[in-house]
Symmetry: none
DNA sequence: GCTAATTTAGAATAAAAATTCCAAAATCAC
DNA sequence: GTGATTTTGGAATTTTTATTCTAAATTAGC
């Protein structure tokens, strides 16, 4: 009936405020775990060894996994300083999702403020580039990459197709292949000469295109596919039109800053691909 | 009241059965995306570029992110062969726990699997790129950057000069300037036509070159300087030959992987420069 | 071994989320 | 243009999930 005197909760006050990162959460967990009641300790142990489940499970599922009652889970969450399970799960979810949401909202804010000094803008592109690179490691499928290297190492001639914002990527590929003596043709679109007939059945095409997809790239690639050439696509999402023609897809998601992107991830992927192909081909000489 | 006769669903049967892995899901998505109605396609694009959100979001959240109604999300899920969103999310959630290991451990793993696997090489380039970007913020002098923007915003026409490994940088600058309606000329070296006479005293030149410096770039730039044009140099070290001709120098140090580099830093610097110049010029209209 | 305080289990309730439904709008075929 | 068909938006409904509550069990202090 009578509450504990208010000042007694002072000591708990710090303990009661919710952790703001999962690191802080686990730190607190480690510090308080052994003065927890039996079932709560049991649950603490469970999520300590299954931290990845918190973001994607319900209370009931976690409770079952730890062999405790759902209400024990609730008590645990409150003990850790959260208002309930939902708040705790929110932390785990935001911490997980690769910092996409955080980054996106941060960018949006900066855009509103219009921090337009060149250095601030540069900082944005640097940040976007770093995040894009980090992401690249998760979006590129190692198997697809390996397959792409196989196909390109086997090809007689490699054709690079990509215009506008994709052109820096293809032109860098051209430079790399030239330096490694790999027979490769850069389709630059110069002089509007129709180059599709130089693509032979035993050739391979590296097509680079991002939304909005350049018509010419899709055209050339589709025709090359019809001839029988293999296609390796560097593109942004699986719904890209290149998916239809059975291309080997390497997915890159770049963060935009305003209407532009830094291309860091695309170029890193391209150069890694080129060097892999180059060393493979030269070893087989 | 009367159900469609069972055999009518035969054709749909294959289409209707739910994908069992996320790979299968995205494969199907790529194959069917363009024959989807507008809103469903819109949502398809959204989750194609934000696949990681599916496991940890509600229907309402995803719907808002894609700017569609929750019911559209439900229709999408059913179209893809799931009974509803819950079933689809279940798939993504079970797939999720494998992706939990963070960037650092993932990188370490990739390196382990043989120094020569394409993925390992990609990891190297990603790492190099991230380091280069980090460095960029310290090597680029904000004052020099500001000065470069001033000069370029004032110029009548901007000329971009840079060949071989620098060409991706200049070609991306050309793309950006074109998109922002800034009068700019890309000196591509095509057809060996001597373009130096198109550079006028009120013009500015962006010269991009890294060791070993391409003769042609130094030539063209020196001549432009003699005519009276301003020079902005994107280069690697202060001892670059461009230092002699009183160019505004923006220094970039890229980390090499073998004989190649990812160009992340150079491109980030270039695009930040271009966007700064573009917004400045368009504001002054 | 008894009493008081704490902890637990499970049911009851409240909140939130998924799913369905239907009228309105858009698109298509003629 | 007209009618038929598909697609869409939004509200209504159902289901799932989180949260609270209380009596029973356990534990700790004496």
């Amino acid at each position: 009936m009578i509450e504990a005197k208010p000042d007694a909760s002072d000591a708990q006050a710090t303990e009661r405020s919710a952790p703001e990162t999962t690191e802080a959460f686990f730190e607190r967990l480690g510090a308080t775990a052994d003065q927890l009641p039996k079932r709560l300790k049991q649950f603490a142990d469970f999520i300590a060894s299954n931290p990845d489940r918190v973001a994607v499970s319900t209370v009931a599922e976690l409770a079952e996994g730890a062999n405790v009652q759902p209400s024990a889970v609730m008590r645990f969450c409150q003990e850790m300083g959260f208002s309930g399970f939902s708040q705790m799960q929110k932390l785990f979810r935001s911490d997980y999702s690769q910092k996409w949401p955080d980054y996106a909202t941060r960018l949006a804010k900066l855009r509103e403020q219009g921090a337009e000094s060149p250095s601030a803008l540069l900082a944005e592109f640097v940040e976007a580039g770093r995040s894009s690179l980090e992401n690249l490691m998760t979006t590129v499928d190692p198997k697809a990459l390996q397959e792409a290297v196989d196909v390109l190492a086997r090809a007689e001639t490699i054709h690079m197709v990509g215009f506008r914002r994709a052109f820096p990527v293809t032109s860098y590929l051209a430079y790399a292949f030239e330096k490694m003596d790999v027979p490769a043709v850069l389709h630059s679109g110069i002089a509007n000469i129709n180059m599709e007939h130089v693509i032979r059945p035993n050739d391979a095409v590296i097509a680079v295109t991002f939304a909005p997809y350049t018509e010419l790239t899709l055209d050339l690639t589709t025709k090359a596919r019809a001839i029988g050439a293999d296609i390796v696509a560097i593109t942004d999402v699986v719904t890209s039109p290149l998916a239809r023609i059975k291309a080997i897809q390497l997915l890159v998601s770049e963060f935009d800053v305003g209407d532009f992107r830094a291309l860091s991830a695309s170029l890193s992927l391209a150069i890694a691909l080129a060097v892999s192909v180059g060393t493979r081909r030269n070893r087989n000489l």
